[in-house]
């Protein structure tokens, strides 16, 4: 398979949203996702990860610009005001 240029979207948000986010991603057409535990701090204050309600997750989705655009738009409209949320994209080369 030739190397393919894609976008990697990294979403940092609250652990309590895990199920909701997966549903959103799948509904918007993501082919897959990867989740890992994180903790941190931002405009919504310190999220120490010391107990579930205060933990963050990192969600990563690889996809084309259209998919990533749809996801960003939807999540920003739906969650940005009320929840800790940071999203950024990187250019990646898919290798397999």
């Amino acid at each position: 398979m030739p190397v393919q240029s894609m976008l990697l979207l990294t979403i940092l948000t609250e652990a309590v949203l895990e199920d909701t986010m997966i549903d959103e991603l799948m509904a918007l057409g993501a082919k897959g996702y990867t989740i890992s535990e994180a903790r941190g701090s931002g405009t919504h204050g310190v999220r120490s990860g010391k107990w579930t309600v205060s933990g963050n997750i990192r969600i990563e989705v690889v996809g084309d610009a259209a998919l990533i655009g749809r996801i960003v738009e939807r999540l920003q409209a739906q969650y940005d005001r009320d929840y800790g949320l940071l999203m950024f994209t990187t250019q990646v080369e898919l290798q397999n």
Binding site: E14, V16, T20, G45, V46, S48, G49, K50, W51, T52, V53, S54, G55, Y79, R81, D82, Y83
Partner: protein, 312 residues
Amino acid sequence: MSIEPVVLFFVLGVAAGLLRSDLKIPGVIYEALSIFILLAIGLKGGVELAKYPLGSLIGQGLIIVAIGALIPLIAFPILRFLGRLSRADSASIAAHYGSVSVVTFSVGITLLGHENLDYEGYLIVFLVLLEMPALVIGVILARFGVGPVRWAKLLHEVFFGKSIYLLVGGLIIGYVAGPEGIRPLDRLFFDLFKGVLAFFLLEMGLVAASRIAALRQYGAFLAGFAVVMPLISATLGTVTGWLLGLSVGGTFLLATLFASASYIAAPAAMRIAVPEANPALSIGASLGMTFPFNIFLGIPIYLWMARTIHGG
């Protein structure tokens, strides 16, 4: 009255947090301990429940739940009009105070053991029954004439959220298996209960320490509310228990249940259902203030109230 040693673990945790010790209890251990506590309480309740005719409890149950549902309705106007908090925040905090805390309840039971007082074992069932209505009322208060509610998601979160699920699951297993069937599990679930509670309080102390700062930021009103509200609820509970003819221990437990504020089930449910409410406010008040108030001062006061109303 001598101090219950388990609450000293809470102090140890708070001090570790304030002194910036590097002590931390890993999140997964916290989750495992809460599963343990919820299951153990449920099992105990189920075994006790089997001793009473179910039918005779239904009437009492309805009365207790109806009176418990008053608590968020009392708390909401205080927060909204006296405290000038936003509608969402008032509703969310009211839901936290209407719901209950398993750990506060456990400390209450521990104290009864210490004082050699009996209680009606089936009261554990109310731990389950009282957790939910306040959350539903909180959402109605937040949304009334304002916006749509994701009811399906909320009700699922409440009924199949892990705390209710494990309490009810434990209740059923305890009820079905009975004291004989549960005996081989006693070594884990009952003998170790108090030790695990001590561990858990250590962790709660660590978390509470990190909440106190958030609370300070929101000033005296919320701190005052976090102390006065449990006293109001406990009074309601004491009178209800006495009118229903509960024993001294039972009256005390009902007062403690009413006075306790949720910090496990409610925060998760409110984060989904009323996301525009600020969780720092509600968790700060319930965990940073009301929880320590209850285990140190409230619980002895509620016991005194129960004894007094029973003429002891």
